[in-house]
């Protein structure tokens, strides 16, 4: 019934009590959770109250005072209460005479009011702190999640590293040097062929970035035929680490090359060779 904030008109109608009961309830519900509209209504209610007290004033009966007092359960009002009924002029005089004593009363009250204010400030500060801690906690949680992702990546890398390490020290592995066709550049990496794990690793650095549309592709030659081991791309630093399973039906290779092929790789070797592989194990085993 009340979708948005109150208009001034609605606030006025609410304050003066002219709304139908359903709308009045809807507004009351809205006010319960909207400080902005409460401010508007508070002003309107002040105006309505002034309307009430701007009517012709009638004096209430003096007898009514004792009646109200009794009804409120205040049985012994004390001498000061009676003294005050003597008249406002006398009370005004008393105010001047006892100003000092009264001031101490005001001071006490002010202290209380200030204490309450500072309690409110303390509470607000505690809420702010709790909120900022919540924000910090959320950031920390995010950081933790990020770190967990990094840790998972690192664990994966570590696993892969340890597998590579095992392959490197395994007597059944063949470790070959990856050499550039450009004679001035020499060895840039290794090819590790592991019969036990049935896997092959290609690790190289100083690779140049290829233009879009081109990719590095790794081939092994076995029995006079080239088999593709897949494509790879170096990272920003020119480093590539590529691992894959041994092709089906092949237990050894004679030579290996890296060519530049069109993006996605070629089914058969077409592009120019940029690196070739020299079998180190043959050298070291000798």
């Amino acid at each position: 019934m009340l979708g948005e904030h109150l208009t001034q008109e609605q606030a006025d109608e609410y304050a003066i009590g002219s709304l139908e009961p359903e709308l009045e309830r809807a507004i009351a519900l809205h006010l319960a959770e909207c400080p902005a509209c409460r401010d508007i209504v508070r002003d309107a209610e002040r105006l309505a109250a002034l309307l009430a007290v701007s009517q012709p004033v009638r004096r209430a009966s003096p007898r009514l005072r004792q009646r109200v007092l009794t009804a409120a359960g205040i049985r012994k009002p004390g001498p000061a209460w009676r003294a005050f009924t003597i008249g406002r002029a006398a009370a005004g005089l008393a105010a001047i005479i006892v100003a000092a004593g009264a001031f101490s009363g005001m001071l006490g009250l002010r202290t209380q009011v200030n204490a309450l204010r500072s309690q409110n400030a303390d509470l607000q500060r505690q809420i702010d702190e709790a909120l900022s801690q919540k924000v910090a906690l959320a950031a920390l949680t995010q950081k933790l999640e990020d770190q967990e992702a990094v840790a998972a990546e690192l664990r994966e890398t570590l696993k892969s590293d340890s597998e590579l390490f095992i392959a490197l020290i395994s007597p059944s592995s063949q470790v070959a040097a990856v050499v550039s066709v450009d004679p001035s550049r020499g060895s840039i990496g290794r090819l590790v062929w592991d019969d036990d794990q049935k896997r092959v690793w290609f690790v190289a650095s100083q690779l140049r970035q290829l233009p879009p549309g081109e990719t590095y592709q790794l081939w092994v030659n076995s029995g006079g035929r080239y088999y593709s081991l897949g494509t790879f791309a170096p990272d920003d630093a020119g480093f590539a680490r590529y691992e894959t399973r041994l092709p089906e039906g092949i237990t050894s290779y004679d030579t290996a090359v890296v060519t530049i092929e069109r993006a996605g790789g070629s089914p058969t070797r077409e592009g120019p060779a940029v690196f070739f592989v020299t079998d180190l194990s043959r050298l070291t085993r000798n």
């Binding site: 009430a52 007290v53 009517q55 009638r58 004096r59 005072r65 109200v68 005001m106």
Partner: protein, 219 residues
């Protein structure tokens, strides 16, 4: 008095606060206090603060109740109900967080309208809520009289609203009074006056606007 307060909020007042009460100076000192300060003291069961607040507002509460009920006896009953409630449940004011006079008048209006409805007097009374108050035969103290109560600020605001009210077109003023003192909804006012609802809404809107402007000009 000056010790560190425990951080329990306003409820703490109920038990922990002790207001100093210099003998003989109670009422005289408290007459200088604001309404809100007096209510704080009443929370602490300060009877003298209650007496000061009663004297400050009894005539206004009585007059508003009389305006609604049109009957001295019923208006006195309303005064009693309002002030007894104020003494017994002062925290209801603290919780509502408005100005004291707004709360007091709101309580008075609701209490008096309840009384009116309970007695089914809304349409019947001569000189009641639907009549014109100045035509009443009973003695009436107009704002020109020395203000018996309340603060100078409130007295000035009352005068400003009173002036604005007097300069309102009669139909706008009537619509406001039927709503506030008669306890009628806009639809009931429209039916009572045989006017379209939209006309009544406009009168109330314009009436409140003019009262607000009158009050702002005073400030």
């Amino acid at each position: 008095m000056d010790g560190n307060p425990t951080p329990a909020g306003i409820r703490n007042i109920d038990r922990a606060v002790e207001f100093p009460r210099p003998a003989g100076a109670e009422l005289a000192g408290r007459t200088e206090w604001t309404d809100e300060a007096l209510m704080l003291a009443i929370l602490e069961r300060d009877q003298h603060a209650f007496a000061v607040l009663y004297d400050r507002y009894v005539d206004l509460v009585y007059s508003a109740a009389y305006r609604i009920l049109g009957d001295a006896g019923l208006a006195e009953d309303t005064v009693q109900d309002v002030f007894v409630r104020l003494w017994r449940r002062p925290e209801t004011f603290i919780a509502e967080r408005g100005r004291f006079i707004s709360w007091l008048m709101s309580v008075t209006r609701h209490r008096a309208l309840d009384e009116l409805r309970a007695r089914g007097r809304r349409w019947k009374r001569e000189g009641g809520p639907l009549g014109d108050p100045v035509e009443s035969a009973e003695p009436v103290f107009h704002p020109g009289d020395p203000d018996p109560s309340a603060s100078a600020e409130l007295a000035e605001e009352r005068a400003a609203v009173r002036r604005a009210l007097e300069s309102l077109p009669a139909d706008q003023r009537r619509a406001l009074e039927l709503a506030y003192f008669g306890g009628l909804t806009q639809q009931e006012i429209a039916a009572y006056l045989h006017e379209p609802l939209g006309t009544i809404k406009t009168r109330i809107r314009l009436g409140m606007q003019k009262l607000r402007r009158g009050l702002e000009r005073h400030r």
